[in-house]
């Protein structure tokens, strides 16, 4: 019997007023897989990712998380699912008046970990991602790559089941961009964490053998290396 996908979209459509963003999307993301989500700016990548997090409801169709229809979940259950997601955004979305440590500690504080556990986990993840020495710096004191590493640390610190990365490399130079991608890919391989990464960096995708989907005119299609 085939393994139940972690995320499954069944005939999902989404429209904002008359503007149809997603049309009859079918998507299955197996546990511990890595998938690219491609598409031009405004194609609906972020909308699709927000739907996985239960932030946006579909106009039509169903979204299943671990086989459960997300539309039937209570607010508390949806919040609980969000705590299992690690987010990495295009812009770092670090809180400017909090230190790196406080930014990374936020998901653990929300999950009410003990202060000692928070300290251990935050310092260790910052160390792993090579920004341990920046723990007490403010985000404005970091380079673009460092900010994105801190952002990644925040996404990983609470041991997520899935990482939703919404164009995490868009504002980075090619070298740092490749570095962040490698980090995500290695987390997927070694940590068995499911990763969905939205990007419009075709070259990055072309150089891997990981599965990719493209959003075009609202339809989600398997990507075969052609723009």
């Amino acid at each position: 019997m085939a393994q139940m996908p972690l995320v499954y979209f069944s005939g999902v459509s989404k429209a904002f007023d008359d503007n149809v963003i997603l049309k009859n999307v079918e998507l299955a993301v197996p546990k511990a897989s890595f998938a690219f989500l491609l598409g031009a700016t405004g194609a609906g990548k972020s909308t699709l990712l927000k739907m996985i997090a239960g932030e946006i409801k579909p106009t039509k169709g169903k979204i299943y998380i671990k086989g459960q229809d997300i539309s039937k979940w209570s607010k508390a259950k949806r919040a609980s699912w969000r705590r299992r997601i690690g987010y990495v955004f295009q812009e770092d979305r670090l809180l400017s008046y909090h230190s790196v440590y406080e930014n990374v500690a936020l998901p653990l504080e929300i999950q009410e970990f003990s202060p000692r556990k928070i300290k251990d986990k935050v310092l260790s993840i910052l160390e792993v991602l090579g920004v341990g020495s920046k723990a007490y710096s403010l985000p404005e004191e970091l380079s673009g790559g460092e900010k994105q590493r801190v952002s990644l640390a925040r996404a990983l610190v609470a041991n997520p089941e899935i990482i939703i990365a919404d164009e995490p490399t868009a504002q980075l130079d090619p070298y740092t961009s490749k570095e962040i991608f490698n980090l995500l890919a290695s987390l997927n391989r070694t940590g068995r964490i499911t990763v969905i990464m939205a990007t419009h960096e075709w070259d990055l995708v072309r150089n891997t053998d990981l599965p990719a989907f493209i959003l075009r005119d609202g339809f989600l299609l398997p990507w075969e290396g052609k723009i």
Binding site: K75, A79, W81
Partner: protein, 289 residues
Amino acid sequence: MKISTSFKLIGKGAGNLWRHKGSTFAAYISITIALLVLGFFALSWVNILNLTNDLLNKLEVRVFLTKPGTVKKIEELAGIEKWEYINADLALKQITESYQLKGDYLKNVLGGNPLQASYSLLVKDAQLIPDMVKTLKGMPEVDEVIYGGQTVDSLINLQKIIGGFGLLLLFILILAILLVVANTLRLSFAVRRQEIALEKLLGASPLYIVSPFLWEGTLLGLISAVSAIIILLYSYRTFSGWIALSFPYLPLKSLASLRVSMLVIGIVLGVIMGFIGSIWGVRRYWPKE
């Protein structure tokens, strides 16, 4: 919610106050002034009430009888604290003494004792006097009733006016304080919109998101209340000392008798208004699904 998380959120609320020093200070000054006005009025009201009660308690109802002799139903009237029957001889003696006259001078001048027997009544509650007078006047044994009618009515009316005005002022000032707290919190919420969106995305519960704002408003109310109480206590001490020296006959409430109630009522009022004001301020932004 765990205790450690609650403390963390209290710290966050306090941090918000510090981070937005400008608006916090403006709100703090406004709330403190409003509480000072409220406190000033409450103290005045307490003292005016004390003064009028003191005056009312000293009021006597004098009932003149048509013929000498005690009247049981007057003595048994409801609401009477103390009564004294004054026969004609005693009345004459009282007048002689009060005018510091000698012996039977008055009796000789008047050619006898023309005074009537009467009752002197002390009433438990001054507000009962008008009704009691009506009852007394209806008795055949009663010739005339004399009391400080005008004074009683004026004092009772004064109490009512001050009470009514006090309630109106209380309502206006409470509304003003709530508005100030709510606006401060709205501003704080708007500034932290990005952080709130992130917390929501990371699965924070509505209580986790809103708690720091509730603490922020509550702390603002508490700090303002403590400041207002300190100023009021100090001012009242100085003022009551001055009154005691300049107008010693004025029965002003002592600071010692007011201190605890001022502290408790002030702090409770500040905290409650801060809390309600913050709920009012963030209710529109309460995280929804």
